[in-house]
Symmetry: C2
Subunit: 356 residues, 2 copies
Amino acid sequence: MGLTIVVERTTAHKAKPAIDQLSFGKYFTDHMFIMDYDAGKGWHHPRIVPYQPILLDPAAKVFHYGQTVFEGMKAYRTPKGQILMFRPYKNLQRLNRSNARLSIPSLDEGLVMEALRQLIKVDEDWIPAEQGTSLYIRPFVIATQATLGVSPSEQYHFIIILSPVGSYYEEGINPVSIYVESEYVRAVTGGVGNAKTGGNYAAGLKAQQEATDKGYSQVLWLDGVHRKYIEEVGSMNVFFKVGDKVITPALNGSILDGVTRDSVIRLLKHWDIEVEERAISIDELVEAYRSGLLQEAFGTGTAAVISPIGELNWQGDKLTLNEGRTGPVAAKLYDFMTGIQRGAIEDPFGWVVEIK
Amino acid sequence: MGLTIVVERTTAHKAKPAIDQLSFGKYFTDHMFIMDYDAGKGWHHPRIVPYQPILLDPAAKVFHYGQTVFEGMKAYRTPKGQILMFRPYKNLQRLNRSNARLSIPSLDEGLVMEALRQLIKVDEDWIPAEQGTSLYIRPFVIATQATLGVSPSEQYHFIIILSPVGSYYEEGINPVSIYVESEYVRAVTGGVGNAKTGGNYAAGLKAQQEATDKGYSQVLWLDGVHRKYIEEVGSMNVFFKVGDKVITPALNGSILDGVTRDSVIRLLKHWDIEVEERAISIDELVEAYRSGLLQEAFGTGTAAVISPIGELNWQGDKLTLNEGRTGPVAAKLYDFMTGIQRGAIEDPFGWVVEIK
């Protein structure tokens, strides 16, 4: 490697928001990490600097051709005062898989981990300790070359910003109502649905907005080919408890390989609950609901961890799950996952990494 | 409207590039147009300022969730010294259709046209006059709100930049070789394929790169559902001459409603050449080729105008079209379209708009 991270500390610390004002991704810490890429030179000049606006040419490719990737991670303050991260290497591996899909040069995962460590330490006073809070970490890459030809950029910024957060949903762990989307499609096999890139999120905004207007929190996405297989819920992976089993869509190339998804599958198996990863049609779910077998549904993701679903609206039919309350599997997963993440429950998997 | 465009002229004019150095989207003029949007306030503060970098918070939504749209237009210097634009209102209408799809607030098309007029006049010395050159115009919208929740931004910039350009392809009007893509998918019905948004272009980079590595200029995209119907070529619409007819994929929701595409259809009909807009499978094309009926293929778009295709590679089979040379229909269209655009041929359709 040989690259040394240069640290320039701020002289003007910002006021920290009150804990009950945090919400999600609204406040940012005093510092950020930034590193540049130039063709022929590679990634270079890694540095921690005061959080500040970035200056880009209006022709920068990120503004025109969406060549971006990002990750979402969290750091937690334990009751004993330690700082923990949850499976950070999984996120960094996925970051590089996203980079490959978007024709962005690969990042040195060891260097990025060291950048995370140093940045979090510099801003460690910003990590909230209250139950349900954490420091959200947003690494991202943007294409900065100022030319309009449609081709991979020859210049990039890799940036990490940090945001103290409360619960992703204002409802907290309370169940959300979900609209099953039949008009819009998020992604399709052969596309970029399994990469964490801006275009996937842009593609979902309109459906999200229309669902919100109808009184729903998120949409449940169906596949783009048959328009019947379950993909994701909002920007989370999704699980269903049907009878004694838990089922979740298989990684088919159009959904995200979620770190929380993988952890939930491993946890359920650890608890001897049968888990199936396979294609799940909306018809199968409706049938399971009618016969009383569909007991729970929940989304999984870094931001919300576990997000129980209280109602599914499928073409006007309202499917109420577990009487609209958080189900026992979702509750147990949420308690265990957040317990491990916050260091309150012993981690049997070696998932948590202490930041020293 | 009531909004007045404020003009701040530069005091430091840039050196203009030599005509043979232009290429595409590499040099930018002395000024740019910018206007801001804030929720509750609407679009405001339209202004022409010296071309300059823009300053954005690293949490700006454009960097994370790809909420962007753009347009591509051209202005031409006629032999008599007039400045002409080609069907600009069609582009502005499409810009607003893209805005609607991406949950971006609508722009006042009259105000944008006035901004284009004033900006082009301020930088009119930058419009090259040589055959094959023009002033490329790039209007675009980016989401600037600095929060990480996945939802439509409450703040935007609308920007117009100008770039004197030569031919899009270094080959000029010479035919290009095209790789028919069977692994990657650009867009699918229900997605954002018919909006001019960054994510569609990001999704195409990897396939483009692999095609380039194999010695091809662009890819021919197949649909994401059946993986057999023709969609677009690179970032252009595509036409085929089969027997006495010209055929092009119908607007199915996943391809762009190209202004050049529409103009070509109207021109062909004007010349009494039969045009069909419908689903076209790759199998149909291969069959037409084998029976000697597939005479020409060409892409259409603002940047390249008409781009003849000399070869199609479909799963290793090389289909050579018109002996690899520009076909008569493509040549006639190119000459007529660029002739109208440059004011060298009288415009029978009322398409050109003089900028005064």
